[in-house]
Structure formats: C-alpha cells, structure tokens
C-alpha cells in the first residue's frame, strides 16, 4: 500500500511543524545519499521553498517523503524525539 504523506502530516501537531520541517530540511541538504532523491520530489521541494510553503501540509509531505528516502534513520529519530512515535509506527506498518 502506498503511503499517503499528505494525510500523514495532518497528524503532526501544528506547534511541532516548524521545528520538524527545519530538521527535515537539514537531513535532506546534508545527506550524502543524493542519488536517492527523485527529481519530482526535488522540484516539488524547490517549488514549495520558493513560495514559502515548506511548512504547509503539502510542503511537509514533500519534506517527509524526501527525508525518509534519503535519511530514514535520522527521520525516525526526529519523530521519536518530538514525541510523534505514532507517525513512526504508521510509516513502518506500511
């Protein structure tokens, strides 16, 4: 089953979105796994960044999907650290 990232990010509490998106951007930009980034996601990330939409639900969905592809362990750790283990569980289930 394909993970619906747009639906998944609705579970992120609004007050945690800023700090979580910052962490995700950092994981993506400092990752050495560049080749794992699909160009459609890369372009979507740039579009959202250009239009200040990275913290919107669609922007968060792009970041989360990208970070999970490039740096899954770091992303799971950040989810746990921010007490969002329910999202980790949901991702791992699928």
């Amino acid at each position: 089953m394909v993970l619906d990232y747009r639906k998944l990010v609705t579970k992120i509490p609004v007050e945690k979105r800023e700090i979580f998106s910052e962490k995700l951007v950092d994981f993506i930009l400092t990752s050495k796994n560049d080749e794992k980034m699909p160009n459609q996601l890369a372009n979507a990330m740039l579009y959202h960044w250009q239009h200040d939409l990275l913290k919107s639900e669609s922007g968060m969905a792009v970041l989360l999907e990208s970070a999970l592809l490039l740096e899954p362990e770091k992303t799971f750790s950040a989810l746990d650290e921010l007490q969002m283990a329910n999202i980790t569980r949901q991702i791992k289930r699928q």
């Binding site: 951007v25 930009l29 400092t30 560049d34 980034m37 890369a42 740039l46």
Partner: protein
C-alpha cells in the same frame, strides 16, 4: 550601498544549489554566481534551474572561460537564459584555470587578447549583429542568431593579475576580483581604476566585486576548519610573488602542492597556517567577518561575493550572513 553576491560550485546536485540560491535571494543577496568547470555539473543547466526557482536575484556564470567554451556558445546560452529571466542575467568571464585547461589539452594562449576578443564577439552577437571576426585568437567566418536576443547582458571580467584587472576596468561592466586580503583588493581596485580612467568611464559605471573564499560560523574553530581545504588549494595555485607578498613560506606552499598532487589531504590541510587563512580567506565569527568586509569596502568595492566554502553548514552559514552580516552594511 554594497551588494552581496554568493557563489556556488555545482559539484552538488542542482536541487541543493537551488535550495541555497532561493535562501540567498530571500536573505538579501543580490547576485548569484555559479562556477564553470568541466568536471562539475553544467553551469547553464544549473542557472536554468535558478532562473525558474528564483524571482529577483541577478545570476550568471562566475566565471566561464573562452578557451573551453567558445564565446558564440556563451552568447547563445546567456541570451537564452535572458529570455527565461529577462534583465537578471550577467556574464562572468575570465581566462580560466591553467591546470584545468591543460588537463583537457587546451592551451591558455594570449589570455588578455582572448578575453578582449571573446567579449567583443559576445557583445556583437548578443546585440543581434552578424559577426565576421578575424582576431588573433578567434576567427569567425560569419555567425548570427536565428532569434532576436532580448536586451543587453552585462559582462563581468574575472581578474587577478594587474594587466587583466586593468583590461577589466576598461572593457567590463563589472570586475570580479579574485582576492580576499585588503592589501590585495586595494591593489586590484587601483588597477581596475586605471582601466576605467583609460576608457574615460565613471567609477560607478563598473560594478567592482571582491570574489572571496569565505567561511562563517559562530564558533571560530568550525569556521576555520571549513576554510582550510579551500585555502590549501588557493595556496597551491598561487604564484610565488603573491605568496611572498603575504610572507608565506614557499617551502610550506610546495609541501601543500605536492601533498595535493598525491591526494594526501591530511598532509596538505595540516600544512595550512593561520597566515595562509588570513591571506586567502575571510573566515571567522560574523563579527570578525564584518570587520574584514568593512576593510575591503574602504578599497572601493561595490559588491562582496561570498564564495566557497561559505561555512561548515552552508544553510546555517547563509542564515548567519543574512541575519547578522548583510543588515550591518545596509544601514
């Protein structure tokens, strides 16, 4: 008021470079420069992405060279970019790096003449003229675009030596001075001014930029650590006269050169001294960088270009520059 420019090397994938470019635009930078080396990703593909994902920043190759890239092709690429982002495109052109050119069997012959002719050809063809050219370096039987170029593209000349700096002042709309130390920048600006004087232009008609190796971090050690590899390459590529001007031990410089040739990074980076970092980079906390930039401004530069490495974490460094350094010079 001084403008801030930023340089990126497209060794990284386009989406990282463009993320930083958007960030720089939001943070108050006015110019984006992308380096052009055959062994990195292509400069014009990267600039095309920049044209699409940015809205107001001015951008261009920083710098291309006329030996590996024929000026007719440079004109075509930049004129097409100028359709994507009208009025935001500039050309940075210099003689290139001798070692890189030699590695692909290209000789850097008559650099002053080559730059002068290349700019002449570039300007003619981008203004819609048909070009027949019999130069010492370039010979064109007859070339013109089958499309109408959209507006004039300013030309910045990348320069380091006195004659090239003078030529840059004479024929350039801008100059990219490859130097960091106030002594070097002051000397370079004086050469540029001489060229401007000879061309009977006004000083403010030429955008004079210091194109620096820059590294900023709140922690000086981290800023320095990021600067060391870049400085080692600058030292290795610098002529003895320049090293001596900064009191750098030539034997130490040779040691670095040999270690880099042997890919012994540890030895090369370990041989970099604080004096080398001082001479060939602007490196430190935001406050230290502000002090150094202020010294360069006294020489008469109108653009300050933040070049590689920028910082140990590029995203954090751009934020630091945007929040602490750029505003300092905008009051």
């Amino acid at each position: 008021m001084v403008k801030f420019g930023i340089e990126f090397v497209p060794r990284e994938p386009y989406w990282k470079i463009i993320y930083y470019a958007i960030q720089a635009e939001k943070g108050g930078f006015s110019n984006l420069w992308i380096t052009d080396h055959f062994n990195n990703r292509n400069v014009y593909v990267t600039l095309t992405a920049a044209a699409i994902y940015t809205n107001k920043i001015t951008f261009g190759p920083g710098v291309t060279n006329p030996y590996l890239v024929n000026p007719v092709f440079t004109a075509q690429a930049t004129a097409t970019l100028n359709e994507l982002a009208p009025g935001r495109v500039v050309l940075g052109i210099g003689a290139g790096d001798k070692t890189t050119l030699e590695s692909v069997g290209v000789e850097m012959a008559k650099p002053l003449t080559a730059i002068q002719e290349a700019i002449d050809i570039f300007r003619k063809i981008t203004s819609g003229e048909s070009v027949a050219y019999k130069g010492e370096v370039f010979k064109i039987a007859g070339a013109s675009f089958l499309f109408k170029p959209r507006g004039r593209i300013p030309v910045y000349v990348g320069a380091q030596g006195p004659k090239m700096l003078e030529l840059a002042g004479k024929i350039g709309d801008g100059v990219l001075i490859n130097a960091c130390h106030p002594k070097d920048v002051e000397y370079a600006v004086n050469c540029v001014k001489e060229g401007i004087r000879q061309a009977h232009k006004k000083l403010d008609e030429v955008d004079v930029a210091a194109y620096t190796s820059f590294s900023v971090h709140e922690d000086l050690k981290k800023a320095t650590k990021a600067a060391v590899p870049v400085v080692s390459f600058i030292v290795a590529g610098s002529p003895s006269i320049l090293l001596e001007r900064h009191g750098i031990d030539l034997k130490k410089a040779d040691e670095i050169r040999e270690a880099l040739k042997a890919n012994d990074w540890g030895k090369a980076f370990g041989a970099v001294t604080p004096g080398m970092i001082e001479a060939f980079s602007i490196c430190g906390t935001p406050e230290m960088c502000i002090e150094r930039i202020a010294l360069l401004l006294k020489s008469g530069i109108s653009q300050f270009v933040v070049g590689s490495p920028i910082g140990s974490n590029v995203r954090e460094a751009i934020d630091l520059i945007s929040e602490k350094i750029v505003p300092h010079f905008q009051v």
